[in-house]
C-alpha cells in the first residue's frame, strides 16, 4: 500500500493498475490498460452529476483515467419515478445500466461504498478496504435524509414502513404497493421539509400523480400535502390550478405544516398544530449533502460551498463537488438537469486543470424541470445561469427563463423526450 502514497506517478500507476484489475467490472480491461498512462480522476457517485462528469471527461480528454465509485448496480432515475407511483410508467423504463459508460467511453465503474477521502495521500478509501489513488477527486454524493429530525422514524423498522421514495429504486415500488393496498376512502399524506431539498417541484408532482391514480381507481380517497414551507416552493400557481381543477375535493394543500414526528403505533403525523391519522404517510425528512462530503460541508451544517469556476470545495482545493450536495446559487434548483450541467462544467474544469490550462471563466448552466400534473399533462420551469464576477456565484440571466402558461399535453411529449435525451447525455 505504501506505493499508493508515493508521489512518483509511475510507481502508483503500477499499483493502481493492479487495483483496477481487481475491482473493475469485466469488459473494460483493454481500455483500462491503454488509459492508465494518464492522470487519474475518481468520481464518487454515479448519478446525474457524477456519471455526466465521467462521460464528459472521457469525451473531452480520453487520456484521463476515470473511475466512478457507485453503490448501486444500475442507474435508477428520480425524474419520471413519480409516474411509476401514478401507474403510467414502470421501473424498467427508469432503470439503466452503466455498460455504455464503460464500453463506449472507457469509464471504470467500481461497485462499492466510498468511506473516506484522504486528501493528504490523495486516495479514496472504500468500505471494502480498497483505496483508489487520484490526481483529482469529484464527489457527487446526492443527499442524505436527516431522520434525526423525525425521532419516531429514526430506526430501520419505522423507515421500512414510512417510506421516502426520494431516491428512486426499491422504495418507489414499495410506495406504489402501499398505494395499491390502501382502501378506497383512505388518506395518503406527503410531508415536505423546509427548502432547500432535492427536487423542489417533486413533492407537488407526486401529490398530483397519487391523485391521478386515486381518481381512476379509488375516488373516495384523499391526498394531504403537509408542507413545512410557507407556500408551494415551485410553480405554485400551476400546481394549485391542477389541484383545484383536476382533483377538486381530493387534494388538500396545507402550507406551514411542518411534520415534527410520526407516531408509528397509530400511524399519526404529528404536526405543530394538531395531528393527522393517515393510511399511507410518505415522510420526506430534511436533507443534507451525502455523508462522504461531510468534511466539505460549510453552509448551515448541511451543504457544500464551491468555487463556481472550478467546482472545488471552498475549504479544500483539489476536491470537486457537484449536484444536490451543493449550497445552491440564487434561484438554482437541486435538480437532475442542474446536476447534469454541473457535471459538464466540472468536467471541463478538471480537464483544464489536469492539462495546466486556464479554466473557463464564463460558465453557463441551464435548467428545465418538467412536472407531470397527471399522466397526460405537464408543466415546466426553466432558467439560465451565468457566472457573476462580482458576486462570484451563478446568477440567472435577466429576462430569461419562465414557466408553462398552463398545463398541457404537448409538453408531456417533450418531457419524455427530455428524459430520453438526458439519460443518454448522462450515460450513453
Amino acid at each position: 500500500m505504501t506505493k499508493i502514497m508515493n508521489n512518483n506517478r509511475r510507481d502508483f500507476i503500477k499499483v493502481s493498475g493492479a487495483l483496477a484489475g481487481a475491482s473493475a467490472i469485466a469488459g473494460c480491461a483493454n481500455i483500462t490498460s491503454s488509459a492508465s498512462a494518464g492522470p487519474k480522476v475518481v468520481i464518487v457517485g454515479g448519478g446525474y452529476g457524477g456519471a455526466t462528469a465521467a462521460k464528459y471527461i472521457k469525451m473531452w480528454a480520453p487520456n484521463v483515467d476515470v473511475t466512478v465509485v457507485e453503490r448501486n448496480t444500475s442507474f435508477v432515475s428520480c425524474p419520471i419515478s413519480n409516474l411509476v407511483l401514478g401507474g403510467s410508467q414502470t421501473m424498467a423504463a427508469i432503470t439503466m445500466s452503466y455498460d455504455t459508460l464503460q464500453k463506449k467511453y472507457g469509464v471504470k465503474v467500481v461497485r462499492g461504498e466510498a468511506s473516506a477521502i484522504d486528501t493528504d495521500k490523495k486516495v479514496v478509501r472504500l468500505a471494502s478496504g480498497d483505496a483508489l489513488p487520484y490526481d483529482r477527486v469529484i464527489l457527487s454524493p446526492g443527499v442524505d435524509l436527516m431522520y434525526e429530525a423525525l425521532p419516531g422514524l429514526n430506526n430501520a423498522d419505522a423507515q421500512a414502513k414510512y417510506l421516502h421514495a426520494w431516491k428512486a429504486g426499491s422504495q418507489t415500488l414499495a410506495l406504489r404497493k402501499q398505494l395499491e393496498d390502501m382502501p378506497d376512502g383512505g388518506v395518503f399524506a406527503i410531508s415536505i421539509p423546509e427548502a432547500p431539498y432535492r427536487c423542489p417541484p417533486g413533492p407537488y408532482e407526486r401529490a398530483c400523480q397519487v391523485a391521478d391514480y386515486f381518481k381512476k381507481t379509488k375516488p373516495k380517497s384523499k391526498v394531504l400535502i403537509l408542507d413545512a414551507n410557507m407556500d408551494v416552493t415551485s410553480k405554485p400557481g400551476l400546481f394549485k390550478k391542477a389541484w383545484a381543477e383536476m382533483y377538486a375535493g381530493m387534494v388538500e394543500y396545507r402550507p406551514q405544516s411542518k411534520l415534527l414526528d410520526v407516531d408509528t403505533k397509530t400511524s399519526t403525523a404529528k404536526l405543530e398544530f394538531g395531528d393527522e391519522k393517515v393510511n399511507v404517510l410518505n415522510a420526506l425528512p430534511p436533507m443534507k449533502a451525502g455523508a462522504i462530503a461531510n468534511p466539505f460541508i460549510t453552509a448551515n451544517k448541511r451543504w457544500c460551498e464551491i468555487n463556481w469556476l472550478t467546482y472545488e470545495a471552498k475549504n479544500v482545493p483539489g476536491v470537486h463537488l457537484l449536484g444536490d450536495a451543493l449550497q445552491i446559487a440564487p434561484l438554482m434548483p437541486k435538480s437532475a438537469h442542474m446536476a447534469n450541467n454541473h457535471g459538464k462544467t466540472c468536467a471541463a474544469a478538471v480537464v483544464a486543470l489536469l492539462a495546466g490550462e486556464d479554466v473557463n471563466d464564463s460558465p453557463t448552466l441551464n435548467n428545465t424541470c418538467y412536472s407531470f400534473v397527471s399522466a397526460e399533462k405537464v408543466v415546466h420551469v426553466a432558467s439560465i445561469h451565468k457566472y457573476d464576477t462580482k458576486d462570484k456565484t451563478m446568477r440567472t440571466v435577466p429576462g430569461s427563463g419562465g414557466i408553462s402558461s398552463s398545463a398541457n399535453e404537448l409538453e408531456a411529449a417533450y418531457a419524455m423526450t427530455w428524459a430520453k435525451n438526458i439519460w443518454a447525455d448522462t450515460l450513453a
Binding site: E194, A299, K344, N367, K390, M416, K420
Partner: protein, 148 residues
C-alpha cells in the same frame, strides 16, 4: 462607513450564520435578493429560494463575465443544450429537435425567432433569451460541424 453600521453588519452576519436555516424558511418564497450593494462581498446570500420557487424574476443587474467564445468555451456552452437535445446535438428522443448538422443560418434565425416570439414555443422562447447574439452565432457554428 460609520462604526454603528459596521457593528450592525457584524451582528447581522453573525445572526445570518446562526439562523440560516430559519432564514431560509422565511425567504423560501422570495426571489433571491442579493445583499445590498454596500454589503461586503463575504456576506453570501445565505439560503436562496429553490430556483423554481417562483417564475424566475429579474434580480438587480448582475455583473456577468464576458462570453467565452474560444473553442473550448463554445463547446462547454453548447453542452448546456445537450440535456434536452442530445450530446453534441444528436437527439435520441422523438419530439425534440436534434441540433447536430443544422445549417448555421437556420439555427441563428430560429433562435432569433424564439427570442422575438415569432416562432411558437412552450419553453424555447424562455431559454433563447438566456444567450446573446455572439453566443448564438458561436453555438450555430459548433452544431453545424457536428455529425448527426
Amino acid at each position: 462607513m460609520n462604526t454603528n453600521t459596521r457593528y450592525l453588519r457584524h451582528v447581522l452576519s453573525s445572526a445570518a450564520v446562526l439562523f440560516c436555516v430559519n432564514v431560509s424558511i422565511a425567504i423560501a418564497q422570495a426571489p433571491a435578493t442579493p445583499a445590498a450593494s454596500a454589503a461586503p462581498p463575504a456576506a453570501k446570500p445565505a439560503q436562496t429560494a429553490p430556483a423554481a420557487s417562483v417564475a424566475p424574476v429579474a434580480p438587480p443587474a448582475p455583473t456577468f463575465a464576458p462570453s467565452n467564445l474560444t473553442p473550448k468555451g463554445v463547446r462547454s456552452m453548447a453542452a448546456t443544450c445537450s440535456a434536452c437535445h442530445g450530446t453534441n446535438g444528436v437527439s435520441v428522443g422523438g419530439s425534440l429537435a436534434g441540433l447536430a448538422g443544422l445549417n448555421k443560418d437556420y439555427f441563428v434565425l430560429q433562435m432569433k425567432n424564439f427570442k422575438e416570439g415569432k416562432r411558437d414555443a412552450t419553453l424555447m422562447h424562455q431559454i433563447a433569451k438566456g444567450y446573446n447574439e455572439a453566443e448564438i452565432n458561436a453555438m450555430a457554428d459548433f452544431f453545424a460541424t457536428q455529425k448527426r
